[in-house]
Amino acid sequence: MSEPALSLSGLNKRFGAVVAADNLELEVAAGEIHALIGPNGAGKTTLIAQISGELAPDSGRIRFLGRDITGLAVHERSRAGLGRTYQITSVFKDFNVLNNVILAVMARKGQGFGFVRPARSDPTLRDPAMEILRQMGLEARARDKAGALSHGEQRQLELALALALKPKLLMLDEPMAGMGPEDGQNMVEFLQGLKGDCAMLLVEHDMDAVFALADTISVLDYGRLIASGPPETIRTDEAVRRAYLGTD
């Protein structure tokens, strides 16, 4: 068994009386798709914010690829190989689609301090960026402003930005949110194709997608981990049914 991609130990986070993380222990194995489910307000997005470094936990440790990253800043964590997408689409709307990805490629290479040559015509940036757009099927939109894309295309670009970082762990915060059934199905297939390239921590409300993709499912309720295991076990778990899936 290789080292886990991510491991959280004793993670606590409170906002006044609201408990967002209650002594959380969680491991994401290398290469697996790990789904995080739970009712609204269970602390899923807050947990992603803590792992990515936007929020500091009150206590506990976060280890990434065996390295303690609890004290690192957001940009240091992503440089270490932690990629993420946002629940609310966050792309650079004034840039065209290609420049969005060029920026991400540049960021991965850590080469932002160039002052003379135009970045958009540099083949060492443009070629890998175009390759990612091809992979995402956004090639035809390369010259369009990101703000002019449809919602579904913006979600794809959002993912393209994260993939350009070649992350070791990809955190996806509701990648299918607001997508129609067809786009949603395409996204599921795309993520399936990525399997093995990197580990994924997937927050998603679409249960069909979750059960289709996940190797492991963890269930969060009021900041507590109430169950964790392979999909079959979770589907039949009593506590999960009560808290979330609903008794039928």
């Binding site: 800043a73 650079f92 840039f95 420049n99 932002g112 160039g114 003379v116 040559r117 135009p118 958009r120």
Partner: protein, 331 residues
């Protein structure tokens, strides 16, 4: 298309201004044109911060004034033949102007490092506060004239150029404006500029891609400070005089208005803004007098204020955006 032509037309017009002034029999106007060009340098560097970096600095006069004082003080030491920090002072432009740029950049490094911990309104206020601190520092420096300022006997000599000739000085300033615009034009399309603009659009997203926003914003702050320092040194030479007024917050406001007027986030817009602002400042009082309303002479801003409001309301990218339409945006 219009994007390519506009700067060329602008350059041609600027080139022709001095002969034009002589031709219409108002040669003193060359001095006004020089002022416009110098303020244009300050305004385009401020737009690097506001329009491309999302940093609304209300203290740009600090770097402008610092550059001016570096020129003034060194020239003063040279004229009085007193050493400065144990070194003999010189009046050579090739030494003084780079020093002015360097001192302003260094001040920007310190002020930026402290100010960039804040954002939004706090950033506006803290940059304003730093500039006012420097203003009062120079007011209290009796050795260098305090409130009254410091006279410069002559312009800093530059080899191969007769600096006392107003035409030569004008074309020198124009050349430097062109150089600054060229550098900024490369900069905003290079990697650095793309990163800077990405931080303006979404700081959290840029950080999540591994970009350390402070390092980039601080670098931009230093570059803008350096440019304003150059403009300040030129202004000291132009006026033959430096005073704390060059650091006053109202001057920061004037430069800010030039940027807004011309077009935030456009490379050439602030040049246009400087032209309009300073032309109105110069000619509106005359226009009031000519219209038989000498009482309004002091209050030219009565017209200027509403004009600014109209432009801000109706032309999002300023006058430059109005002229160029969709082509104005630098994508």
């Amino acid at each position: 298309m219009r994007r390519r032509i506009f700067p060329l037309i602008g350059l041609a017009v600027f080139m022709m201004l001095p002969p034009l002034a002589t031709w219409i029999g108002e040669p003193y106007l060359v001095s006004t044109f020089t002022r416009i060009v110098i303020f244009a340098i300050a305004a385009v560097t401020l737009d690097l911060l506001i329009g491309f970096g999302g940093m609304v600095s209300f203290g740009h006069a600090a770097f402008f004034g610092l550059g001016a004082y570096v020129s003034g003080i060194i020239a003063h030491h040279a004229a009085e033949q007193i050493t400065l920090f144990g070194l003999p002072a010189t009046d050579q432009a090739l030494i003084i102007w780079p020093l002015a740029i360097l001192v302003s950049a260094a001040a920007a490094l310190v002020i930026g490092f402290l100010s960039l911990r804040t954002s939004g309104v706090h950033f506006i206020m803290i940059t304003l506060a730093f500039a006012q601190m420097l203003y009062f520092l120079f007011v209290s420096m009796e050795k260098y004239g305090g409130d009254d300022g410091l006279m410069m006997l002559e312009r800093n000599p530059l080899p191969g150029l007769d600096m006392s000739d107003d035409w030569s000085f004008y074309y020198l300033c124009l050349g430097l404006l062109a150089v600054v615009l060229f550098i900024l034009g490369r900069l905003i399309n290079a990697r650095f500029g793309m990163v800077l603009r990405s931080i303006k659009q979404s700081g959290p997203r840029a950080r999540s891609l591994g970009i350390s926003s402070l390092a980039y914003r601080l670098t931009a702050f230093c570059i803008a400070g350096a440019g304003a320092g150059l403009a300040g040194a030129l202004m000291a030479n132009h006026n033959g005089f430096v005073s704390p007024a060059l650091l006053h917050w109202t001057l920061s406001g004037d430069i800010l208005i030039m940027v807004v007027l011309g077009g935030i986030g456009t490379l050439y817009g602030p040049v246009l803004g400087a032209v309009i602002f300073l032309a109105l400042e110069e000619f509106l009082p005359l226009a009031f007098e000519g219209a038989g309303l000498p009482g309004f002479k002091e209050h030219w801003r009565v017209v200027f204020g509403p004009l600014l409001i109209v432009i801000v309301l109706f032309a999002k990218s300023g006058l430059y955006g109005f002229l160029l339409g969709k082509e104005a945006a630098d994508v």
